[in-house]
Subunit: 167 residues, 2 copies
């Protein structure tokens, strides 16, 4: 068993015993929002945006990038569950700024040789404002994303908790 | 402006004014955990697992599926930031159980014709236990995922808050 496994099982028992009215939350996000942000352990997207449980879909991956899969999620969100505002939020001190595709490739060299795997685009970040702008643009111009959706870009500062808009 | 935009900006000011010692959180997840779960607005992964901010990477998409992009994030997480336990958590009453690829295709018919887009796999779910098992297996057998990683599968019940293990 993983070292946290037993703790998670035990903690979840307590959580469910005090579940209260969370069982009544609706399926569609109450505020029609999606936040796309990084998997980083220091980020609490609902809280830093002043939202409550039930208000927003939260999509997270390494970097908070507008990958094809993130866009799959965004399209399902607006088309099936009525969201209409997307917030793309990258952050300072992101691990994705600390390596390149070449670095990653070198970590797997010789272990499991496979051209396709070696050429994965890890979606690293070299300029965080540019990465936000590119991802906002990619979403806005995606052929299956409706023009009615508003897409905003931000950088979250991990040392201050501030959201800085990127235009 | 989106209808929530001004509220988010205002709420974030308060959040950053009371940021406290969150600025000292380390980059690598304290408990070496990654949770892969759904974007659903009713889910609070840290809380239902009894974890604190800083403990875990959180990867989220429509369904909590082990898409190629989710796996990109998992690999970066363990290879660059030392995580070693992955928790795949799908949930009851998931929107992904309510439609099929064909349904989605029909929603875009005639609007923007494009064979590639029409054939997107939306990763819908027909059997939630099976989807968890398939995704756990996909991660475990991925050539770039180390055998040292433990991968657990769960279903979260949105009406009770309980995590049910899928084996």
């Amino acid at each position: 068993m993983g070292s946290s496994y037993a703790d998670i099982i035990e903690s979840n028992k307590k959580y469910s015993e005090n579940f209260g009215d969370k069982k009544n939350l609706p399926v569609p996000p109450i505020k029609n929002i999606v936040i796309l942000t990084c998997m980083d352990s220091r980020l609490e997207p609902l809280k830093f945006a002043g939202l409550n449980l039930g208000d927003a879909h939260i999509v997270r991956n390494a970097g908070g990038r507008a990958s094809d899969d993130a866009i799959r999620s965004l399209i399902i969100s607006y088309k099936m569950l009525g969201t209409n505002e997307f917030y793309v939020i990258h952050h300072s001190d992101c691990g994705m700024e600390s390596f390149t595709n070449e670095d990653m490739k070198s970590k797997f060299e010789g272990i499991k040789h496979n051209t396709e795997l070696e050429n994965i685009d890890w979606l690293t970040i070299s300029d965080r404002e540019e990465s936000v702008r590119n991802d906002v643009e990619k979403i806005k111009t995606h052929p299956l994303v409706s023009d009615d959706i508003q897409v905003f870009g931000f950088i979250y500062e991990v040392k201050t908790g501030k959201l800085l808009e990127v235009k």
